[in-house]
């Protein structure tokens, strides 16, 4: 079941990345292509098959997982700045790219790396699932959830205000989907409280968050394309 969700998410992200290529060639908002490519790469590296393959190239010591963490932080930083700007949330933007936000990012990154290198990480295992359990693995995993949750928490208030305003229906629906994705990133902070019997909830929440965010961003773009087409059609009939 989870495998289906993983590959669906990856296909959606890859499709959205491919769809952005023509507009990026035209020079429109190239950062969005980068963002979609980053999300796709994040998803790719979190799926077992590709993870094991790439980690094997990198020496079989799970460096790929550390790489994934840093890519995720970068993805969230970029997405956070873009979304905060788009939804006119100067407070959110300051909290992400201001001194506090960069300090949070720096501290998370340093701690992530130090915990990683403090562990015996031999033998590739996706999500570090088969490493010896211990506080270091747990803290490392919590750090990986913390920064995305932090960015999401900075964005949610501004987006919530925006979703409740009026506007094109598709844009509002897409914004709400993106908001749902961000909400799930915040929810993922409580993973340690999920009992083992419901462990399947964790990947479900993670991939749903990625899928909802990607679909939300894609939907916002689609609503723009549709609106531009409609206004062009009106212009040409006048």
């Amino acid at each position: 079941m989870i495998a289906v969700l993983q590959w669906t998410t990856l296909s959606v992200c890859l499709a959205l990345t491919a769809l952005r290529i023509p507009s990026a060639i035209r020079g429109e908002n190239r950062m969005m292509l980068v963002l979609f490519a980053l999300i796709s790469l994040d998803i790719l590296l979190s799926i077992e098959g590709p993870y094991l393959l790439i980690d094997a190239w990198l020496g079989n010591v799970n460096v790929c997982n550390l790489l994934l963490r840093f890519l995720l932080y970068g993805t969230l930083l970029l997405m956070g700045i873009k979304v905060a700007k788009a939804f006119a949330s100067p407070g959110g933007e300051r909290a992400i790219r201001g001194p506090v936000g960069l300090a949070v990012l720096g501290a998370t990154a340093v701690l992530t790396a130090s915990f990683f290198f403090s562990m015996d990480t031999r033998d590739s295992t996706v999500g570090l699932n088969d490493l010896d359990p211990g506080p270091a693995v747990d803290i490392y995993a919590a750090l990986g959830r913390f920064y995305p949750g932090y960015v999401a928490a900075c964005l949610v208030p501004g987006m919530w205000r925006s979703v409740r305003r009026s506007g094109p229906a598709l844009l509002r629906a897409a914004s709400a989907t993106l908001l749902l994705g961000l909400g799930l990133l915040i929810v993922s902070q409580v993973f340690p409280l999920i009992p083992a019997a419901f462990a399947w909830l964790r990947p479900l929440i993670n991939y749903s968050a990625a899928l909802a965010s990607a679909l939300g961003l894609g939907g916002i773009w689609l609503s723009k394309v549709i609106a531009r087409r409609a206004s062009r059609a009106v212009m040409s009939t006048q």
Binding site: N29, M32, A86, F87, S162, G167, I220, W221
Partner: protein
């Protein structure tokens, strides 16, 4: 509220006894599938009745009055109040009237008022007949939530049943809301020709100026809000689109 199929078909037979439903739709411009669906559901929309009436040269106002739910429209017509008449003058016409009044010029063609309804006719009508707690009284009488009633006013629409309930609650004639919502025209509702113009002329220059400024203020607010919404939308599209 809508019209029951049976009563509607009886009425239709009365005005067009030998016409097929297909022809009725063709003459009136009502979509055939729409009317068929309304008949099957047993709820014919008032707008269908109005379109068909007009196609067969029947006064839609009188046609409506034949239905039980619109019994209030029967009998001696209640003339509109001056405030109701003026509420049905568009904001632009009010501004033109201000100019005409304060800078009379020979040779300028006289102001011809635009047909009803205008862009904010529903809200202006409700404001014109509201003695202070009309929204609550309508809400008590019909069970509609006040915010839903307000949403209708903002969208400049008013379902016929709500229009009737509103005029009843305000103690004015039953036609005003139907005119304001555009279901029937002022002449179909029996308002004398030129009544709006005469009501306008009876306003003093000061009253007219104040009224026009109120309307202009409301229009400015609406436009500002629309502009802000558009800015907001464009900002999202610029950054994420």
């Amino acid at each position: 509220m809508s019209l029951p199929s049976k009563a509607f078909q009886r009425w239709l037979h009365g005005i067009a006894p030998n016409t097929s439903t297909a022809d009725v739709c063709r003459f009136s411009g009502v979509k055939r599938t729409t009317l068929a669906q309304q008949l099957v559901r047993g709820k014919v929309a008032e707008t269908s009745l109005v379109s068909i009436s007009r196609a067969f040269d029947v006064n839609p106002f009188d046609a409506l009055a034949q239905f039980e739910a619109y019994a209030a429209l029967r009998g001696t017509p209640v003339p509109p109040t001056a405030a109701e008449l003026i509420s049905q003058v568009s904001t632009m016409d009010l501004l033109r009237a201000v100019v005409e009044r304060s800078e009379p010029q020979d040779g300028r063609p006289p102001l011809i008022l635009a047909d009803t309804p205008h862009a904010t006719s529903v809200r202006n009508w409700v404001d014109a007949i509201d003695g202070g707690e009309l929204r609550h009284r309508v809400s008590d009488a019909t069970g509609i939530a006040p915010q839903n009633f307000s949403a209708h006013l903002t969208a400049n629409r008013l379902p016929p049943e709500l229009a009737l309930a509103t005029s009843r609650a305000a103690g004015v004639g039953p036609a005003g809301g139907l005119v304001a919502s555009g279901l029937v025209t002022e002449s179909e509702a029996g308002w004398p020709p030129g009544a709006r113009r005469e009501a306008l002329d009876r306003l003093s220059e000061g009253e007219l100026a104040l009224l026009a400024s109120e309307r202009l203020q409301a229009r400015g607010k609406t436009l500002r809000r629309q502009e802000q919404e558009a800015d907001h939308t464009n900002r999202i599209w610029e950054n994420l689109g």
